[in-house]
Every structure is written in structure tokens, then in C-alpha cells.
């Protein structure tokens, strides 16, 4: 097994996504994620000193929208597709952890 990622790191990342993993799933994901990271490591071997970091493929900047109200969508239609709704709001389980 690769040492690219540890079981603890997988458990930590799963917690950030609020995923509950069984022990055998932790093992499976540790192995799979390690392979992904291994593949990414291939990219690290490339010489990129002369390449500027790119977050956007297009040479664009300052694309603005006018501050004009456009129609919103129908809330009943949206809420009908939510797992649970109450008082015209989305009903969710109590969430552990702080609001950011």
C-alpha cells in the first residue's frame, strides 16, 4: 500500500464531508485515494518552472453582470423537490459543527 495518504487522513476528510465510513470502507478509500495521488505525483515530475500558474484557460478579466433584478423561481416548485420542507423552508437535520 502506498504511503501517500494515511487512514487517519481519510477519516478526517470524510468527517469534513460529514460521511460516515465503515472500517473496511476506510481501508478501501485509503487505497483508492493513494492511487489517485500517485497518479497526480506523475504530474509533479514535469518541469513547469517557466509556466505561469493558470486558474482560468481564457484570458478574460472583469466580466460583470448589471445590477438588475431578474425573476426568481417558484418556491413551491423548488420545495416540492426537497426531501423535507416546512413553513416554506428547507427542513434539514440538526447539523453538528459551527456555521463558518
Amino acid at each position: 500500500m502506498s504511503d501517500r495518504i494515511t487512514r487517519d487522513e481519510v477519516i478526517h476528510v470524510a468527517r469534513l464531508a460529514r460521511l460516515e465510513l465503515a472500517p473496511d470502507e476506510v481501508d478501501a478509500f485509503t487505497e483508492q485515494l493513494a492511487r489517485v495521488l500517485e497518479h497526480a505525483a506523475d504530474v509533479e515530475s514535469l518541469e513547469v518552472d517557466d509556466v505561469a500558474p493558470t486558474s482560468h484557460p481564457l484570458p478574460l478579466a472583469n466580466v460583470y453582470r448589471a445590477d438588475e433584478v431578474t425573476p426568481s423561481i417558484d418556491r413551491d416548485e423548488v420545495l416540492a423537490q426537497a426531501p423535507f420542507a416546512e413553513d416554506h423552508m428547507f427542513r434539514v437535520p440538526p447539523v453538528l459543527g459551527e456555521e463558518p
Binding site: L16, A17, R18, S55, H56, L58, L60, A61, N62, V63, Y64, R65, A66, D67, E68, V69, T70, P71, S72, I73, R75, V78, L79, E86, D87, H88, M89, F90, R91, V92, P93, P94, V95, L96, G97, E98, E99, P100
Partner: protein, 485 residues
């Protein structure tokens, strides 16, 4: 100028406070979609695929929000720089996308400052653009998140444009923290980018508080205080937190870095659950939004359009009035009330600066003084200074001017406050001279001090016998005339 030393902290300890102030921008629409940015709408009526984070939707940034953010940045003396948006990833239902679009390592505004009325300068680390989150209501357990049965989420606020203003941890007293927040609010209102209402949440303050022994430069473990709903509440929350930490240190313990919720009714804070570390947010540049690159011309245009800010208005008025008789607080009060322009204009028309400030401070503490023109106000002050009106009469005339917007002279006349006709006055002065030969000879033949003292005596006698209706300047003229003749 010295400010009162915090009476609340035990001797030997000092406060270190940094503030994060979130400000909702007063745009018509949200940051990345055309949904209305409106407080108090029916739940989930201002929502669309973009602010709900539905698959396939794409954000486009609101040009007005960016402009407002840069305007605020320049008002805080920030450098306005090329910036990019970033994703802050976290799992919480108030953000249906599972990330908040914000700015991270390249914020729009950085390295600014705000100078308080007493000259203390608060460093502003950054003022970045981000979107607001939805609003959760916790049901069950008395509304407390930790005991909630479930939560209800309204996404009207999700995607509303915010600027987060982050100060350096340089605030050393509660008074400075309060003055900083109220200074920010003044600026926001002056430049018109937010209504800055703490009670409606359009301005929200989180306080990072730590303490240290006086003279130390270290930054100790801090706690972040949330749920602060007013400037006063912030003061109480900071005080409570500082005392709690000092108590821990005094018992040989240390505070834990944590978020704490302020409970205004109970007057105390309770620990929240621990927050994720910055690394856990896995920030990365937002691929769906292109960089913001303001041109030098754009920044120059913002500077040109900048209205006079409260600090500049305070110093403009400060320069016109004597520092010994008019305090920093009085100047700040007049600027807060928006009366500095009237004061400066009246002083420009020759009215006595100290008298102008006094009348405004004590007798014009009203919401609407818009009917009073600088010319009329200057006339009133001149009538008072010259002795045509007594202080009491001047106040009465002023209150009528507030109502009607009239000129002071006709108002004074209609109330019978007009100066005595000069002929009548001359008779009174002559009679007074005849009754007081000794004083008169001191006035005519004495040195400057005597002459001044006797002028006061004669003027006082005339004022008292005419119940203040004599014109002080006319009395002075008559005395001078008689002594020369």
C-alpha cells in the same frame, strides 16, 4: 487628548482585540445572480438555480457590488488590487453549494486603516468580497443549535454580497473597539454602500479577543465572539471575555482557542463547537469566475467620486473652532448629526465659531434642521454676539427657525425681542452716565483695563434695565461717542 482608561480590567492586564466586520452591500441584486437582495421577504422567494447551487448553474459577478467594495476599500485607505474569487469548502446547510464563494489569498482591498476621533489608528488588514449564507432557524431545544430537533433554512440571504473587513489585532480598549465599529458605520453611510443596520444583520461584528500582561508584545490564545447584535453588546461581550481569560490565567490555566456565542440576555458567552482549521476549508480559486483587475483610471475615478468622510469632516470643523473651548466629542457629535456643513458655512459668513458650535450642540439636537440656512443661522449668531438678542431669546428664535425656516430678525421682532430704537437707547445711556459720575470718569480717563471694566458695567446696567433688548454694539458705540465728545 486622553481617553478614559478601561476601569474594567484588573491592573497589569491589557486587551488585544481584532474585529471582523461583515457588511451587506446595498445592491439591488445578489452577488452572482439576479435575485433580489432584499431583507424581510417571504422565505425562499428570492432564490434561483445559481444561489441554490443547482447543477449546471453558473455565477456572473455583480458589477455594482465590485464597485461598492472598491469604494469601501478606498474609503479605508486600502490598496485596491487585482483579485480572484475562491471557494471555501465546508459542509453546512446554510450554503447549498457546499462552498462559499469568497476571496482568499488575493483580496480586492488590503492594507488600509481607519483613524478614530482621538487620533488612534486602526490597521485594516483586508476588506474582501464574499457572498452571504442562508439563514437557519433551529427548531426545538429553545432555538439553541446544540439541542435542535431540526433546522429550517431560508436561502433568500444566500448569495447576498458582503464585504468582510478584517482589522489587525490592535484594538487596546473597549472604547476603541466601539469607536472603530461606529466609525466604520459612519463611513458606510457616508459612501452609501450599505445601510449598516446591526439589528437587521446588515452589519455583523465578530470579535477576536485575547489578553496579555501590560507591556508584553505577545499575542496569546484568542477566542472568537459571535452573535453580537449591537455596539453596546460588543462592549459587554469583550469585557466578559477578557475577564474570563484573566481569571483562567490567574488560576494557572489557559483559554482554549474556540468560538463563543454571546448571550446578551444572560450577559455571558458559551462555547460553541470547535471550528475547522483554515486548511480544512480547502480553498481554491473559483474556476467559474474570472479575475477582477481594476485599472488605475477606475481607482482614480472612485477616489474622485469619494464624498467627504467623517474623519475629514471632523478635522475641517476642528480647524475653525478654538480647541480649548470645544472638545473632540462635541466636534464628533456635530459631524454625526450632519451639522458640520451648517457650522462651517455660518462661520464662513462671519459668525463667532464658539457660539455657533454651542448653539448647534445644545439647541439644535433635532432630527430635521434642514429649513435653517447658513445665512439665517449666521445672522442669528451675530445678533446674539452683538447683544441684540440675549442667549434665551436667541434659543427661542432658533427653535422657531427650525419649524418655519424664517429669518431671525423678523422672528425676533414678532416676539418683541427687537433692539431698542437708538434714540431711546441714547436717553438711557445719558441718564446712566449722569447717575454714575465716578464710573464714567474711570471709563473716560482710566487705563485700558479700567475702560474695559467700566464698559462692562455700563453695558450690564443697560441690559438689565432693558431686559436684554438693547443692542450691545449700539451701547458700545454710544459710550465711545459720549466719551469722545
Amino acid at each position: 487628548m486622553t481617553w478614559s482608561i478601561e476601569p474594567t480590567l484588573p491592573e497589569g492586564w491589557e486587551l488585544v482585540v481584532g474585529l471582523e466586520v461583515h457588511v451587506e452591500l446595498a445592491t439591488a441584486t445578489k452577488l452572482f445572480c439576479g435575485c433580489a437582495n432584499r431583507f424581510g421577504s417571504e422565505p425562499n422567494t428570492n432564490i434561483c438555480p445559481v444561489c441554490l447551487g443547482l447543477p449546471g448553474s453558473l455565477p456572473v459577478i455583480n458589477g455594482t457590488a465590485v464597485k461598492y467594495a472598491m469604494l469601501l476599500g478606498r474609503a479605508l485607505q486600502c490598496e485596491v488590487r487585482p483579485s480572484v474569487m475562491a471557494r471555501k469548502n465546508y459542509f453546512y446547510p446554510d450554503m447549498p453549494k457546499d462552498y462559499q464563494t469568497t476571496q482568499y489569498d488575493q483580496p480586492t482591498n488590503s492594507d488600509g486603516e481607519l483613524m478614530l476621533a482621538d487620533g488612534f489608528t486602526v490597521g485594516v488588514e483586508r476588506a474582501h468580497i464574499e457572498e452571504d449564507t442562508g439563514k437557519s432557524t433551529h427548531v426545538g431545544g429553545g432555538g439553541r443549535i446544540n439541542d435542535a430537533v431540526h433546522s429550517l433554512v431560508d436561502y433568500n440571504r444566500a448569495g447576498v454580497p458582503l464585504v468582510e473587513i478584517v482589522s489587525h489585532p490592535c484594538l487596546d480598549t473597549i472604547e476603541h473597539a466601539k469607536a472603530y465599529v461606529s466609525g466604520l458605520r459612519d463611513i458606510l453611510l457616508a459612501i452609501g454602500v450599505s445601510d449598516a443596520r446591526m439589528e437587521e444583520g446588515s452589519m455583523r461584528v465578530d470579535a477576536n479577543v485575547s489578553v496579555r500582561p501590560v507591556g508584553s508584545e505577545e499575542l496569546r490564545t484568542r477566542c472568537e465572539l459571535k452573535n453580537i447584535n449591537s455596539i453596546r453588546s460588543m462592549g459587554r461581550a469583550i469585557e466578559y471575555e477578557a475577564l474570563r481569560q484573566i481569571d483562567l490565567y490567574s488560576n494557572g490555566e489557559s483559554p482554549r482557542q474556540e468560538t463563543r456565542h454571546w448571550d446578551e440576555a444572560a450577559g455571558r458567552s458559551t462555547p460553541g463547537r470547535s471550528k475547522e482549521d483554515a486548511d480544512d476549508y480547502r480553498y481554491f480559486q473559483e474556476p467559474d469566475l474570472v479575475p477582477l483587475v481594476p485599472s488605475a483610471a477606475e481607482v482614480a475615478a472612485i477616489d474622485d467620486a469619494m464624498p467627504a468622510l467623517p474623519s475629514a469632516r471632523r478635522s475641517a470643523l476642528r480647524q475653525l473652532v478654538p480647541a480649548v473651548s470645544v472638545s473632540v466629542e462635541v466636534i464628533a457629535t456635530l459631524v454625526d448629526r450632519g451639522q458640520d456643513e451648517l457650522a462651517i458655512a455660518a462661520i464662513g459668513k462671519g459668525a463667532d465659531p464658539e457660539k455657533v458650535v454651542t448653539r448647534l450642540q445644545h439647541d439644535l439636537a433635532v432630527d430635521d434642521f434642514s429649513k435653517i440656512t447658513a445665512g439665517a443661522f449666521a445672522d442669528l449668531i451675530r445678533m446674539e454676539t452683538s447683544g441684540e438678542l440675549t442667549a434665551t431669546q436667541a434659543k427661542q428664535v432658533l427653535s422657531e427657525m427650525v419649524e418655519t425656516g424664517g429669518e431671525p430678525r423678523p422672528i425676533a421682532e414678532s416676539r418683541g425681542f427687537e433692539a431698542m430704537p437708538t434714540d431711546d437707547l441714547a436717553g438711557l445711556v445719558d441718564q446712566l452716565i449722569a447717575d454714575h459720575p465716578e464710573e464714567w470718569s474711570r471709563f473716560v480717563g482710566g487705563d485700558d483695563g479700567d475702560r474695559k471694566k467700566m464698559q462692562g458695567f455700563f453695558t450690564g446696567q443697560i441690559m438689565s434695565s432693558t431686559k436684554g433688548q438693547a443692542d450691545g454694539r449700539a451701547v458700545a458705540d454710544l459710550l465711545a461717542q459720549r466719551s469722545a465728545g
